[in-house]
């Protein structure tokens, strides 16, 4: 049974506050939500990649969660490809949710069905740790 697990409050050290084209203030960085579900759509595009994940809520009703990721520029450096996930794939996604309680969040990590874990890469182009 797939379920949404609301993790305990965590204080995350995330200093890259302008990684998105928009303000990051909508997200609650002190919370993590674990989404266990099925990929509805994965859009590989600039300036942001996004995933829609179908996740059953506590009553078993399917809810579509929107997950915002950085641009392919930084995802490629973290091992992502445009076909890393596709509709129908079973995935586990960790997000920092939006503060309103709407089903949306900013990406933290992805666990694929084969156990591989993917994250993002800090935006530090031109420095030795950018790769």
């Amino acid at each position: 049974m797939k379920k949404v697990l609301f993790g305990a409050a965590l204080v995350l050290a995330c200093g890259v506050s302008a990684l998105a084209h928009h303000s990051p203030a909508a997200f609650d960085r002190s919370k993590e939500v674990k989404l266990v579900g099925t990929v509805k759509e994965f859009r590989w595009q600039n300036p942001h990649t996004w995933i829609e994940v179908i996740v059953p809520d506590e009553k078993g009703k399917d809810v579509v969660w929107g997950v915002e990721l950085t641009s392919p520029t930084y995802l490629v450096r973290a091992g992502w490809k445009s076909n890393t996930i596709k509709p129908g794939d079973k995935v586990t996604v960790l997000v920092n949710p939006v503060r309103t309680g709407e089903p949306a969040g900013i990406f933290r990590s992805l666990t694929l069905a084969d156990g591989r874990v993917l994250t993002e890469r800090p935006a530090r182009l031109g420095t030795p740790d950018s790769k």
């Binding site: 200093g15 890259v16 506050s17 302008a18 990684l19 998105a20 084209h21 928009h22 303000s23 990051p24 203030a25 909508a26 997200f27 609650d28 859009r43 600039n46 300036p47 942001h48 996004w50 829609e52 929107g66 915002e68 641009s71 392919p72 520029t73 939006v98 503060r99 309103t100 709407e102 089903p103 949306a104 900013i106 935006a123 530090r124 182009l125 031109g126 420095t127 740790d129 950018s130 790769k131």
Partner: protein, 278 residues
Amino acid sequence: MRGLVISFVIAAIASAGCSPSAQPDSTAASAAPAPTDPPLEPGRVLSALAPSNLARPRPKPPFEVTGNWFIDVSQNPEAWRFGPPYPKLTAVAQKHWDLAKKYTAEGKVYRDDIGQCWPAGLPLIMTRYWPMAMVQIPTAIYMISGFMNSVRIVYLDGRKHTDLDIIVRTYNGESIGTWEGDTLVVDTIGFRGDHHWMDQGGVAIPAGEQLHIVERFRMAGNQLEIEYTMTDPEHWEGEWKSTKRFNRVIDEDIQEVSCLPDLNEHLQSTTSKTQVLQ
């Protein structure tokens, strides 16, 4: 359109050369026939890409900025911001500052126009988290941001600022560069004063039509340093100064990036109830 601009720049480089050694000197100019352009109408100035402007003899520039540049956040992840320190704000700006602090404390996002697809504009366009491509030719520097492919042109051909009565105000303004020793001094005016901000993410300071930015470009090894001096008497007192350093990026080119009409439909944070748009 963006593809056209990029092709335009590439064509200009191909025809003009982008290295100092490729620029004509007085000897070369006298040895080869001078390019001719049709006569200008009264009051017009030569385009930065007009053959006769490109071929005009000029001193060799002290340095070239051609390359891809990215704000150095290796020591400070907040280095993309132009403060703190922030200047003393006027009452007009203080109102926005206070509202942003209030709404941020409530977990809301105040007037995030960039997130709503308005242009970042100068100065923030220089420090977005995507590289800035710069192409220098004898008459101008063409800058194309990896963020929304925003185009900025710094004219180096000796022209003066456009009359403010006819200038078309923009978010990146009109930039004129002059060399002072080993420093390129870029003077920018002609800004739009609506949906234009000096910071983002909990700090709201408007940029108005009186915004005036002077940038002093220097090269330091593989880093480009730009010292900013910014005034806008409508929004703050005196000079707001900030120095930014940019790293040369050799393994990444900018890509086509647009704020497409459906982008924010899939970025729920930009449409959520946290947004305070007015």
